[in-house]
Symmetry: C2
Subunit: 244 residues, 2 copies
């Protein structure tokens, strides 16, 4: 590339990175607000989360368009091409994180004023705080291109999945104890599942950072520990994980 | 482009389209098999669905790589660029449809042998059949670049969401009637939600086909009718939809 082309390309990359950081900031705030709104049954805050999602969708579509134009115009190779592809992938993950936060807030609107075992709400809050930490750290890792930090987030998601597993069982137990808990706990189950999926998206972003910096996929097995799809609701067998 | 370049570009497009049709065929089979496995509690069939997902992921990654290379190498404009971008988007939607089918089968493995109200399983089957119809039709619409057919699928998804809403309520009712139904019905709720999300992906594909052929997004409001996030579990107020 000529010096001019290189400078233009760098400017386009800067622009993409800035947009992604903006998306990251919005998504972090959405998850934090969605959690506070759930715990406090704050209908106004929940509604503002639902509204924020539109902005996230707009920026993502914009990033995708600009990235594709950059590829067509500059024909970047190797690390430069990976930069642009990574921008597309990370924007897509952040957009989906926003969807999950929006889903949580929609459910908050549904369950406001219902009978509630507050303890399980706090369980979802704890899980959400863990995932918010993952999200912040993985966005930092993207800014500084810190592969070790990205891998650390990737590994940490196992603990989030473990917490989800125990919450899932706890919620089923509450439902069995008292039918008045069923509607409320069903919505909480979906909220917890949304938080768990946000955790998965942070590991996707970790994988993208690894690919961006090293040019290689992560070869180790992802620490996937959401086993509730296999949850039978029966007491565990000695020596066996729950189900399947 | 020179004649040679045009021919090479066409060959690359053909290859992308072929790969997408292969993905579509696999995803259709996964959804159909996942549904049969759920209804019949066929553990072997459910396991084969889980295994198939790997192939789908591989083809998707391959399509993405080839598409990006094509953009960098050929610098396509207008309809040609839209062809390549659409391939990336549709592959991503089909890959996620595969994930949903896999999730359904994981839950089938969890609930095999459990107490069951067979009627609600048939409700999920009916919903799944509707969505399978949407998937087949939208893949046909992609093959023939039939915008009207794509729009027709896009509109049809409202009926799927309506069925999901009524299934959601029915499942809550079963849980309230008998605590022994709770674990089973919770898994079925997640299965139904997965089918509903597959429906959403078929509408995404409709939108991509519209963009591909016309160069414009669909401007009408998407017929989003999954209102269960707002479901309160209370009898409906006169004149009001459920919740929010």
């Amino acid at each position: 590339m000529s010096e001019h082309t290189v400078a233009s390309f760098d400017a386009e990359l800067q622009e993409l990175r800035r947009s992604i950081m903006e998306m990251g900031g919005i998504a972090e705030k959405m998850l934090a607000d969605a959690t506070v709104a759930l715990v406090r049954r704050d209908v106004g805050l929940a509604q503002s989360v639902v509204t924020s999602d539109y902005r996230l969708d707009t920026i993502q579509r914009d990033i995708e368009e600009k990235a594709i134009l950059t590829i067509a115009r500059r024909q970047p190779m190797a690390i430069d091409l990976r930069e642009v592809i990574s921008a597309i992938r990370i924007a897509s993950d952040i957009e989906r994180i926003g969807d999950m936060a929006k889903n949580i807030s929609k459910r908050t609107l549904a369950i406001s004023g219902q009978f509630e075992p507050q303890r399980v709400v706090l369980g979802v809050e704890r899980m959400s705080d863990m995932v918010l930490g993952q999200l912040k750290d993985v966005l930092d890792a993207y800014t500084t291109l810190d592969v070790d930090k990205a891998l650390e987030v990737w590994r940490r998601d196992g603990a989030t999945d473990a917490l989800y597993n125990s919450l899932f069982r706890e919620l089923l137990t509450y439902m069995m104890e008292d039918p008045r808990n069923i509607t409320f706990c069903t919505h909480l189950l979906f909220c917890a599942k949304n938080v768990e999926r946000i955790g998965d998206h942070t590991t996707n972003i970790s994988e993208t950072i690894h690919y961006l910096v090293t040019g290689q996929p992560i070869t180790a097995e992802r620490p996937k520990m959401d086993r509730t799809a296999y949850e039978t609701g029966q007491p565990e067998q000695a020596g066996g994980a729950a189900g399947a």
